[in-house]
């Protein structure tokens, strides 16, 4: 029923593409964690106006479809004179989208900590940056691991959208192969199975973290 020979024949291409998907997802997650840490620190330590600006950014990344954000970044980067190849444009787009979520994850994790921690830091003569960096942030790392792995799952799913700006990840390769050989079911099945494997593994990792690391 299924043409298994053909499936084996295209398997190396799909595997290479899934490597690109993983690479792009991990890189964007890394950058969005860095951005999230930085901006949540700024949001927690500064006044109302900067908080409103960061809030607007978060609402923008959540309220606008990811596809639209990806196309905005795809067109806006060259407009500002920044020329990246598709891969790095994709990384920028996904980090931009992910940062909106990671900022909220870290900010909420700090806000759920006990108020006494801040007061203790104040008594020890720390200023607000020292309190945040030395006292509060080390405690939230454990707490934010489960939502961060969830965010990684979202990033992997969003990376499929990068096929519209022709990054060579699974969905793009799937499309290419379909229109090269006009074989639909086998190729779709293979791409779906790839995603199922990647995301199921990530989901079980996040469940593991949720069980083991809840403070």
């Amino acid at each position: 029923m299924l043409d298994t020979e053909f499936m084996l024949y295209i398997l190396p291409r799909v595997l290479k593409a899934s490597l690109v998907t993983l690479e792009i997802s991990f890189l964007s997650l890394l950058f969005s964690i860095i951005l999230g840490l930085l901006f949540s620190l700024i949001a927690l330590s500064s006044g109302k106006i900067i908080n409103i600006i960061i809030r607007c950014f978060v609402e923008f990344t959540r309220g606008v479809p990811q596809l639209v954000q990806i196309s905005i970044i795809y067109f806006a980067l060259p407009y500002w004179g920044i020329y990246f190849n598709e891969f790095w444009t994709g990384v920028v787009a996904l980090s931009f989208i992910g940062a909106g979520y990671t900022i909220e994850i870290f900010r909420n994790a700090v806000l759920t900590l006990d108020k006494g921690q801040q007061e203790a830091g104040k008594i020890l003569g720390m200023n607000k940056y020292q309190i945040l960096i030395y006292l509060l942030y080390p405690q939230i790392i454990k707490r934010s691991l489960p939502p961060i792995t969830n965010e990684l799952i979202n990033v992997v799913k969003a990376s499929a959208l990068l096929s519209v700006i022709s990054v060579n990840e699974i969905t793009k390769i799937m499309n290419d192969v379909i229109f090269e050989y006009f074989v639909v079911i086998e190729v779709l099945l293979e791409a779906t199975v790839m995603y199922l494997i990647i995301i199921s593994v990530l989901i079980s990792i996040s469940r593991y973290f949720e069980k083991r690391l809840v403070v």
């Binding site: 609402e59 923008f60 959540r62 309220g63 606008v64 479809p65 990811q66 596809l67 639209v68 954000q69 196309s71 905005i72 067109f75 806006a76 407009y79 992997v156 799913k157 969003a158 990376s159 499929a160 959208l161 096929s163 519209v164 969905t171 799937m174 499309n175 379909i178 639909v184 079911i185 779709l188 791409a191 779906t192 995603y195 199922l196 995301i199 199921s200 989901i203």
Partner: protein, 220 residues
Amino acid sequence: MAEVFPRLLPPLWVTIKVSFISLFLAFIIGLFFGSLNCISSKFNPINIITRFYVWIVLCTPIIIQIYAAYLLLPKVGIKLDVFWVGVIALTFNSAGYQIEISRASISSIDKGQYEASKTLGMNIFSSMIYIILPQAIKRMLPATANEASHLIKASSILSVIALLELHKAAINLQGNSFKFIELLVLQAMIYLPIVLCTSYIANILQKRNQSKSTKIDLIK
């Protein structure tokens, strides 16, 4: 910007139509299979199939599901308008989430409710329809409103199968006018209030549910 705005209104209507029709269908499917799931035992074939289905939906990106609907439906001999292909794809995606939502809210209803309806002589179906579901639907509403905003965002991906919704219309206008960024930002500014409104409604519903349940606790 002002002169192209009217030309984006009919596609906006398509976006809203496609998302709400799929939301409605997915809500019904989710309610049906979610309650079946709660009634039947864990190793019932229906139960296993729905769990497998939910797993597939949650573990694949929506763009793959849209391509699958677009490419596989003609293979099976179903030839539909691209609008209805979009509805089917979004319903397929959303139903997975709706099954989970309804299953969670039905199983969050207190066990005493089942026992009370049993003592009144109701069988499992009538107690489901008259006692459990009215309460469960109230609890489902916030998550369903969130799902609506998720669907409005997801409907932009239907542009890859050439359904003329908001994003596709903006891409087409870009080709005519070469004003790339202006059109994309305008389009983002159209999406933003709609999505924010739906998530605001979800928040209000959530708060109302919470305050009600605390009131009940106080009376107890």
